[in-house]
């Protein structure tokens, strides 16, 4: 080992060799093999696809259910029964006619008679 200043900017070869002897372990090749065993082999495309089958099916089912629920709500909302009394109260003359014209469902008869009795 050198006796000159420890601030020497050059590596101390003798100290380095001694430390290398202390720290080095045999079996570098085995170590490399162990690491590479965990890296694994590249997969074929059908193997990759196979891994995605289950999550893909689950996602498709979920999306189908969500879409069906949303569509059902939308259809029910547009075809909902308009109560005649609401139409009569909400508007006068033209409003009532607009309400009748805009629905595809017939008016509720009970509500219609009740409205006439009130009048």
């Amino acid at each position: 080992m050198h006796d000159d200043t420890a601030f020497d900017h050059r590596p101390d070869a003798q100290l380095g060799d001694a430390l290398r002897a202390v720290l080095s372990a045999s079996g570098d090749a085995a170590f490399v093999g162990r690491v590479m065993a965990d890296v694994g082999e590249p997969s074929a495309w059908w193997e990759v696809l196979g891994l995605w089958v289950r999550p893909g099916l689950a996602a498709a089912l979920f999306l189908s259910a969500a879409a069906g629920f949303w569509l059902g709500n939308a259809v029910r909302g547009s075809d909902s029964l308009i109560a005649l009394d609401e139409a009569l109260i909400a508007g006068t003359g033209n409003g009532t006619m607009t309400a009748f014209a805009s629905t595809t469902r017939p008016p509720d008869v009970d509500v219609l008679f009740a409205s006439n009795e009130n009048d």
């Binding site: 900017h9 101390d12 380095g16 080095s24 570098d28 890296v39």
Partner: protein, 180 residues
């Protein structure tokens, strides 16, 4: 083939390219991990973890810079994490406690005794000084590269190398005449 090219191929999924990088840096990575952990088996586990982490993070590697320091920083972090997690178990080869109760180097004269004393002297150093002197005197990295690896100023690395060398030389005075 240069390290950067191998790294690019490995990132693209070339297993052989990554294998070449592991082969090139296995010895260094194992020594760096052992410098931190002491125990050779723990060191191999940490170096193993470091290589797998490096593979995952290859996208973050800047190919304009040397690959070795980038990799060894990951390995050193893996070793440090492992040291923090592990509980005290089996005798550690590089135990600082053992170093402080050294039986006295004058009684041993063979090379094995020298190695044992050096192990203990190394273990007695603070971790950053150990790493600095090993990376500088064993692995041949520059102060600047070591500073980047350890995330400390370059002056700190110089100081660490200085103190580590002085401590090692001081404890090994008895073997001053030991030459290869």
């Amino acid at each position: 083939m240069q390290d950067a090219e191998l790294a690019a191929r490995a990132q693209a999924g070339d297993r052989e390219a990554f294998g070449e990088l592991v082969t090139r840096y296995a010895a260094q990575a194992r020594r760096v991990a052992r410098t931190i952990l002491g125990d050779p088996d723990d060191a191999d586990d940490a170096a193993h973890d470091g290589f797998l982490a490096a593979l995952r993070f290859l996208g973050r590697y800047d190919p304009s810079r040397p690959f070795g320091p980038w990799l060894l920083r990951i390995v050193a972090n893996a070793a440090t994490d492992r040291r923090r997690r592990r509980t005290v178990r089996r005798t550690e080869v590089l135990s600082p406690v053992a170093a402080s109760h050294d039986a006295g180097p004058a009684q041993e004269t063979d090379r094995r005794a020298f190695v044992t004393a050096l192990e203990r002297a190394l273990a007695a150093l603070p971790e950053r000084q150990r790493l600095a002197v090993v990376l500088f005197d064993v692995e041949g990295y520059s102060h600047r590269e070591i500073a980047q690896m350890l995330d400390v100023p370059e002056g700190t690395v110089r100081s660490d190398v200085f103190h580590a060398r002085r401590a090692l030389r001081g404890k090994l005075t008895a073997w001053a005449d030991w030459k290869e």
